[in-house]
Symmetry: C2
Subunit: 391 residues, 2 copies
């Protein structure tokens, strides 16, 4: 894996992430493909939208279909028919958010499947092994996520464990090899809740180990927007300029623009896909609840300025009807639209970084999208953050 | 609308149906788009499969979103983003199969919505008016469907009413005009259960009125395959060679080939789409239940000879996983595959009629698909017929 920063504007960066499965322009938004599919769309539709990298969830794929099936297919790319770059998380976040019973010790975490109650154990070495079998272009270390609020003491303990596990993951990664003839990369994850000193310690320890990239974890779990942005800035400040920076599980369009300003290159979040399935569509003028009766007779596109397959071919009235009668095509078209919106947002940010107009464009964009102002927008949607990456 | 027979082989015909929304090669299979969408696929995917004509259900569209919404959009083509030919039924079949309470009198049928119990009335004139508002290229007359078994007396009464209503529909059709600047056509429906004399009377009476095309209704409702084929032959024999012949709601691949041999040009059925959503895939060697555990590790296409998007890009193992974890992409890919199978079947029949090899090709095809023989195949699936066109 290689990463090149092409242009900066203040903290914001436009770059290129090169992997064995192709290159990705950054900033990039990775749709979430929890169970080996981005819900309700085909890989062909993703490609048409402009998506060049997706995320897979190790926890879900490990449970179903299991790593044996995926390695039998020759890895997740071949299994899922997505031959472009893939990043997988380590499964840690889902263990904390989904499994019924879990017990963390210094060596790893034992948990019960949320599906059938069966008992499983993730260790740092084990999750690297699973991700060798899944075969993503980028794998993540096993970390211990903290909730919000989180007292300083526990934030420190969880981060200490996260850093130790990161070292063990990296050692296991170095000892092992990719199974499918192409290179994999591994990213460390910075934890430390909203405590600047712990975040700095975390980042420095990980940077000292020399990962391919660095993620910021443990945010968008309910903290105020301002505190999230501050913490992002503290972290990106510690990550070497030559490495990609990945903000996990974030967030709203406003969150993403603020994070890009603070130097983040990569994002993933369920918001566009999950909200789509609930009939919430992102537009340049703010969100639209398509099931609202007032759209029943609106024979115009969801967003007249949008170039997606949904907006070019269908109307609000039709989409509202599809949701109203519970047709699968409703979530499909809404997902295409929302992913197009997110892709256009980061592609727009990139274009404006390249020509030096990002900051002014960002201010305009935020004003258009969030009539109540960016902070109120972040707060308004904070309840949606707390369930990040849990599909 | 124009219909040209290009070539015949025995009773089988290859033709072209020309409408204001384009031409359709026959024999044609029309996927069922009950509520203004062929379930789980986009119009773009339908086009890629080769689909050139779809069916819409007047009963469902009349209830939701309602004819006012669809006429506000400029008709069903524009509303649903499907700019190729559309045929709508009259709603009669759904009144009989879906509504909780219904009362037929000589003037029409009063029924309660299966959704909310609200009371509605369809008359011959009314269903023509609704279909003027929906704007299909081909509309159907209101008929009275008979179940199987059906005593001869009731079959005669229902047919008498069907013929009278057909006359009223045709008169209303002649009195009125299309609302959207293009031509619509109207087909009569031959009823008469499995009684040859009633079927002949029905066909002759309708042909005497001069419809644009003629449908065979009231079949695939539980009668034995042999009796269905015999009845089809009796009907097609009465329909002038220059008119298209449409067998409503039929059927299995074997049913379709047998009906083509007997001179049928047009088909619709929920089998490929509904079975797809239940994980039942049609293949050249018979049906495949993709959820079966034995497919979990089969990293090969559903059908290696198939050129559909599903078979070219994905494996049985992946499809089985999608169904197992209830991902929307499962029904989507299975629907694409099954519609491709049905489209290829009728396109294959057409190609072989054109070069005079239909009968021998048909025998081979039936042997490959139905190891137990065609009759046992038809019986085996007869339980699926009884719920035809009810999505």
């Amino acid at each position: 894996m290689a990463f090149t920063v092409e242009q900066t504007e203040g903290g914001a960066r436009a770059g290129i992430l090169s992997t064995s499965h192709g290159s990705v322009n950054t900033p990039v938004f990775m749709p979430v493909g929890t169970q080996g599919t981005v819900k309700s769309v085909t890989p062909g539709e993703l490609t048409e939208i402009g998506v060049r990298m997706v995320l897979g969830n190790t926890y879900h794929l490990y449970l179903r279909p299991g790593t044996d099936v995926i390695s039998g297919a020759g890895g997740l790319h071949r299994f899922s028919g997505w031959e472009k770059p893939i990043l997988t998380d380590s499964g840690g976040f889902q263990v904390y958010s989904l499994s019924k019973l879990r017990k963390v010790d210094d060596d790893g975490v034992t948990f019960q499947s949320h599906l059938d109650g069966s008992s499983h154990r993730f260790t740092p070495e084990g999750t690297v092994g699973i991700q060798r079998a899944l075969g993503p272009d980028v794998m993540m270390v096993l970390d211990e996520c903290t909730p919000y609020p989180c007292d300083r003491g526990y934030a420190g303990i969880a981060n200490k464990r996260t850093v130790e596990w990161a070292g063990r993951c990296l050692a296991e990664f170095s000892r092992s090899e990719g199974l499918y003839g192409y290179e994999q990369a591994i990213f460390g994850i910075i934890q430390g809740s909203v405590y600047p000193e712990i975040r700095k310690d975390s980042a420095r320890a990980l940077v000292g180990m020399g990962f391919d990239g660095y993620a910021i974890g443990g945010l968008a779990v309910g903290e105020p927007g301002g505190l999230m942005y501050e913490t992002i800035g503290i972290c990106t400040n510690e990550i070497p300029a030559g490495n990609p920076r990945y903000l996990m599980g974030v967030g709203t369009p406003a969150n993403i623009l603020e994070a890009i300003e603070r130097g983040v290159d990569m994002f993933d979040c369920v918001l566009p896909t999950r909200n789509a399935r609930n009939g919430m569509l992102f537009t340049g003028k703010g969100p639209m609840a398509i099931t609202n009766a007032r759209h029943a007779g609106e024979h115009v596109p969801v967003d007249e300025t949008c170039g997606c397959y949904c907006c070019v071919n269908f109307t609000r009235a039709y989409l509202r009807h599809l949701f109203n009668v519970r047709e699968i095509l409703g979530p499909t078209l809404a997902t295409i639209h929302n992913l197009w919106f997110y892709h256009s947002l980061v592609a727009g940010a990139r274009a404006h970084i390249l020509d030096g107009s990002f900051l002014s464009w960002k201010s305009e964009k935020l004003k258009e999208m969030e009539p109540g102002g960016r902070e109120s927008g972040a707060r308004r949607q904070s309840n949606q953050h707390s369930s990040r990456r849990v599909l």
